[in-house]
Amino acid sequence: MSEGENEIAVHIGDVVKVYGSGDSAHTALHGINLDIRHNEFFTLLGPSGCGKTTLLRMIAGFESVTEGEISLYGQNLATSPPNRRPVNTVFQQYALFPHMTVAKNVAFGLKMKGHGEAETRARVDEMLRLVQLDRFAERRPSQLSGGQQQRVALARALAPSPKLLLLDEPLSALDLKLRQAMRLELKQIQRDAGITFIFVTHDQEEALTMSDRIAVMSEGALQQVGDSRDIYEAPVNRFVADFIGETNLPEVVIERYEGDHAVCRLGDGSELHCSVSEGAAAAGERGHLSIRPERLSFTAAGEEGSIRCVIDRTIYVGTDTQYAVHLGDGSELVVRVQNEAGEELPWSAGDEVGLRLATGAARLLSD
């Protein structure tokens, strides 16, 4: 079978997971539908407890599927035990075998698959070079740093050339600098290896920087699937807008729809043109907007097309300055303005200023 660019690697159809039974039954996943493409860096993103690990473990074969089906390149996985699935996992705590050297850890999957000595050794060397640990082949995992252990886990999972690699929050045990470096490295390794990755994280920044596509999950259901830009720029509902990045979520009254735009009225009476997400409320009803703080800027008070507001607080955060403001009716917003070199902050607390929205900055959300 050819594996073209748009071929579906993993199909997840109406998958439901119920833990326990009777009174203690708990539904962890409510009918998940997902198609993950060949060679994609796909991320499952959501807060802790939303069911990411559960879904990953079902794909790996460690949890039974209560309802629905999971298939890999068209082949239903229902009856394959984990050791028969061409799928490998990088575990959250790595689970490196402590009684084996780094090289033996990496060789384990190849040995179990029945590859010969010479072939195994060559592949282990190749993998250790890939993760830049060739000098550490004879060490025990306990003699490595966290970041090195993480890379051994990656090499071990990649060595048997799986069709699909699953990664459950692999970077969460590392410190910030290392985590940022590993993001780039992981993405590069995925491209070089040409293997489909499903990456699980609760860190939205991690998801945005690495993924080809992201599925945002909440409470066992998918909220939105799309690339980083879609998710950030065009969130479909309040959960996604709030979870990804920082945003203002003012309540508005929807005045009318004009083509694919809506005109909404803020609490202080000013009207805004906004893009509309699917499933938004009808004209005349109330709804919520998402306005990213960095899409707002200041001008002189009273200027044409600006909204009058008063600055309450300023917080200097290095790359930019964050302003907390309130509108005429007391409703509050956050504005972020990028800092210029050597410049004094042009606005300070107590100033009355005009608030300007970049075009397309406001988006009407479904609840």
Partner: protein, 270 residues
């Protein structure tokens, strides 16, 4: 933690008479043993006067055919009982910590570990009654069966404790890397368990080697183990030979217990 410990140690020392009671306990516990060990090298037949250094009681003990055969019996039984008990205990620990949870799991744990708390004489009488009821003639095989059974909980405890400490992620990682159930056990779980298994084995071995009460009830005529042989000799009349053989038994026990402790410590630090 260490701060609290040291302060409680201080307060313990402040109890009046603590030192005296502690010294008396140590004295009563170890001085008789020390006397036995020292006088096993005595040149004359006395446990009160020292007549110079000699190994003659050891030589005499080694050439005593009764002691020879009892030692052989004890070793065969201890090795067999410890081996079988360790295998059963490992399988039980797998079932209890790795299998699917089942109803009455707590009950099974109690059934496995309660024998440690039952007075040994009760177990002994029960075993004897059982063998007689099913019409077994008493002999080495009844000793072996009884020893195997009461060694299981001793082997089980360290093995199950270690197995509980090994995260399920290791089993899963092995299976994820194409190892079936058996190979996941063989190449991952078992090597990680080895220190605990050795420790459990040595404990079971010593328990079997030292046992007197149960053995004395279920042993048939002629099937004598070392503790039974020593007891027999003592009843006939005291002889420094007994000191020698007791000292050897003590040495073996001490070696095994400290080795078991060391091995389990290595396992934990790994």
């Amino acid at each position: 933690m260490s701060g609290r410990e040291s302060s409680s140690q201080k307060s313990l020392r402040r109890y009046p008479g603590f030192r005296a009671v502690a010294l008396m306990c140590l004295f009563l516990l170890y001085v008789p043993i020390l006397v036995v060990a020292i006088y096993s090298f005595n040149d004359i037949r006395s446990i009160t006067t020292w007549g110079g250094f000699s190994l003659k009681w050891y030589a005499k003990a080694f050439s005593n055919p009764q002691i020879q055969s009892a030692t052989w019996n004890s070793l065969v039984i201890a090795v067999s009982a410890a081996t079988i008990a360790t295998c059963v205990a490992t399988a039980a620990a797998m079932g209890m910590t790795r299998g699917r949870r089942f109803r009455g799991q707590g009950g099974v744990f109690a059934v496995i570990s309660i024998p440690l708390m039952i007075p040994e004489i009760v177990t002994a009488v029960a075993s004897l009654a059982f063998f007689l009821a099913i019409g077994f003639t008493l002999g080495l095989h009844t000793i072996l069966i009884a020893h195997t059974v009461f060694c299981i909980p001793f082997a089980y405890l360290p093995i199950a404790a270690r197995m509980q400490g090994i995260e399920k992620a290791f089993d899963e990682a092995a299976k994820d890397l194409y190892a079936g159930r058996w190979r996941a056990f063989r190449y991952v779980l078992l090597p990680m368990m080895t220190p605990a298994i050795i420790s459990g084995y040595m404990l079971a071995f010593i328990i079997s080697l030292d046992d007197f009460i149960i053995t004395s009830l279920v042993a048939g005529p002629g099937s004598t183990t070392l503790p039974l042989a020593i007891y027999g000799l003592v009843r006939v009349g005291f002889s420094p030979e007994i000191n020698a053989i007791s000292t050897l038994l003590l040495l073996v026990s001490m070696i095994f217990v400290s080795a078991s402790y060391l091995v389990s410590r290595i396992g934990r630090s790994n």
